[in-house]
Symmetry: C2
Subunit: 357 residues, 2 copies
């Protein structure tokens, strides 16, 4: 596909989906500014997804992306879950609370959610993207027949080859710099941790599909860099967290503003899958000697409960404060302004250091 033309983008910028942080308001502002706005429905049910897509359509006439989680089903393990809750118990007690009795599977994978598939086929958003893996052939065929362009997050060459064979239209090359959940298909496999630069270039050189580069990109210089590497567009998440239209809470915004001091870290301790987070109390705890984490998203039930208990006690260092390695360059501005700034930096070559030409 011709990514920009087919979706009507006038600037090669995609706002990353970011379940729990993106909003229709944010996404519509990005789409209206010429980029591709995105919402995520991996953490909501089909009925709520339908409302979100309807809201997108009332807010913008332009293309947008709807993201789903296509993870393998978790394997519940009561012993592992009990040990995990026991390890978290001192934190809960500090916040005058108690851990949940049992942990639930809080998100259904899109791979086994026929109602969500029906909703997406019916609503036919212009682009649908898969994170954590690929759904089956029938699902892909149904979405393509509905006219959806399909993106898949990949973190290495092998995943890219699987996405190509499955009939995906564009690859989201997620470098190790990227904030939030790492999209690796199999979280138990060895992760080569390919950086955005290396992964983008490797995919652009070996794939017939357009590449959307993600991870560490915060400004026009970063976008230009990945275009030079052969990407068709850049997907930015952390840059949009700081926009007032995101649903990030004040503590998250404050933590993002301190990112130059704290940095980020990849941790599985919040959700059960590796995700890049601003260094905070929970990521520091997880660096220590902790028991094996339950499968995603079982662990996330505990993580969310702990964060709720902490926030109720006025502590804000236990949240999923996802951010990429470029976090120190986040700029709090309206989404439309941010897209305009990115476009200006990209097109006008706003001074970004020495250049040859």
């Amino acid at each position: 596909m011709d990514l920009l033309k087919d979706l009507g983008l006038t600037v090669p910028v995609i706002q990353a989906p970011m379940a729990g942080v993106s909003t229709p308001k944010l996404a519509a502002a990005v789409s209206d500014a010429g980029g591709l706005g995105s919402i995520a429905v991996g953490a909501v049910d089909a009925a709520r997804a339908r409302l979100l897509i309807e809201e997108m359509r009332t807010r913008t006439e332009r293309a947008f992306q709807v993201n789903v989680f296509a993870h393998a089903a978790p394997r519940p393990d009561p012993d592992r879950e009990a040990a995990w809750l026991a390890a978290l118990r001192p934190h809960f007690e500090r916040f005058r609370s108690a851990p949940p009795e049992v942990l639930r599977v809080i998100y259904k994978s899109f791979c086994e959610d026929s109602r969500m598939l029906e909703t997406l086929v019916d609503a036919a958003p212009p682009a649908v993207s898969f994170h954590f893996g690929l759904p089956g052939k029938d699902t892909i065929d149904a979405l393509k027949a509905a006219g959806c362009r399909l993106f898949a997050t990949v973190t290495n060459l092998a995943e890219a080859r699987l996405a190509e064979k499955a009939g995906i239209d564009a690859l989201v090359a997620q470098g190790y710099e990227a904030g939030g959940h790492r999209g690796a298909f199999d979280p138990s496999a060895v992760d080569e941790r390919l950086g955005t630069l290396a992964l983008t270039r490797l995919l652009a050189a070996t794939s017939p599909l357009p590449v959307i580069s993600a991870g560490g990109i915060m400004d026009g210089a970063g976008i230009r860099a990945v275009l030079d590497l052969g990407a068709a567009a850049a997907q930015l998440g952390t840059a949009f967290v700081a926009c007032p239209e995101s649903s990030a809470d004040d503590a998250y915004r404050a933590a993002l503003a301190r990112a130059a001091e704290t940095g980020t870290v990849m941790t599985s301790a919040i959700s059960g899958r590796p995700a890049r987070c601003l260094v905070n109390d929970i990521t520091r705890w997880a660096r220590g000697d902790v028991p094996p984490v339950p499968d995603y998203p079982i662990a996330y039930d505990a993580g969310k409960a702990l964060n709720a208990a902490a926030k109720a006690a006025g502590e804000h260092g236990f949240g999923a404060q996802w951010a990429g390695q470029g976090a120190p360059m986040a700029r709090p501005m309206q989404a439309a302004q941010l897209v305009a700034a990115l476009e200006a930096e990209l097109r006008e070559r706003v001074p970004m250091g020495p250049h040859l030409n």
Copy 2:
């Protein structure tokens, strides 16, 4: 400093020093082609370093870089070293050999090598670079007084600030993609694992010094990308390993040619410090349950002995086959040809995927 002008470079390409792999022949070919060739003297004594620098001067009239290891002194720990040797013993026995009785400190740090300093001050190579840390003020002053331009590898913002304060002339921004030894000043500190894209942009945006970007860069597209991020030049290592002028052995070259299948991994098991290596027998072993590795370069004494025993038995999977994440893009060609190809790709915008302009 004006990096390109001060060193007379006509192409913003630096061949990474690569102790054990680079040669004066390789370095001189790169310098003669308009880049900056480099040799490393961290693994040799001052007398040998003098000869290498003399050889560089007979081979080229252009600028070159001499790299030293500025690591903190290792802390010998006989128990840890004995446990390490015991863990390696089955490998040695498989190769009808035995581990060394004791492990020696095989490399002296430049920080405590007054003869090396005298040699460098006397020989005054155009550029001297530090890896693993910074030497003291007197050393830096002496080298600057001798007319040497000073580079320091940094892997994060804090190390960059230390290098700036120390009077370094240019920062080598080593992304997590980079092959060979990670230049982190303190290997016991938490490594944020900043990717080349994020690190380059963060340093270019915050440092008054020119930035030399390293990690995953293999072609003109990669060079252009880091220049767009604000780098003054790109430093390529893995791309030059494949040149016939390098001292890489046949097994290393063959492993590099298979990199798309094997990938790379960061391991401390070969030398005692994290270094990115092609996945091979020793890195696979190190992924398992192994005892704590001795300090660098004490562990390297064992690693080198094991590789020698393996090679004598016809096994080639135990070597320090350093490579970066861009390894699948290595092109075996003469160094002069490679520099010319990089320059052509960079200047002529050889097709590298979609561009806005």
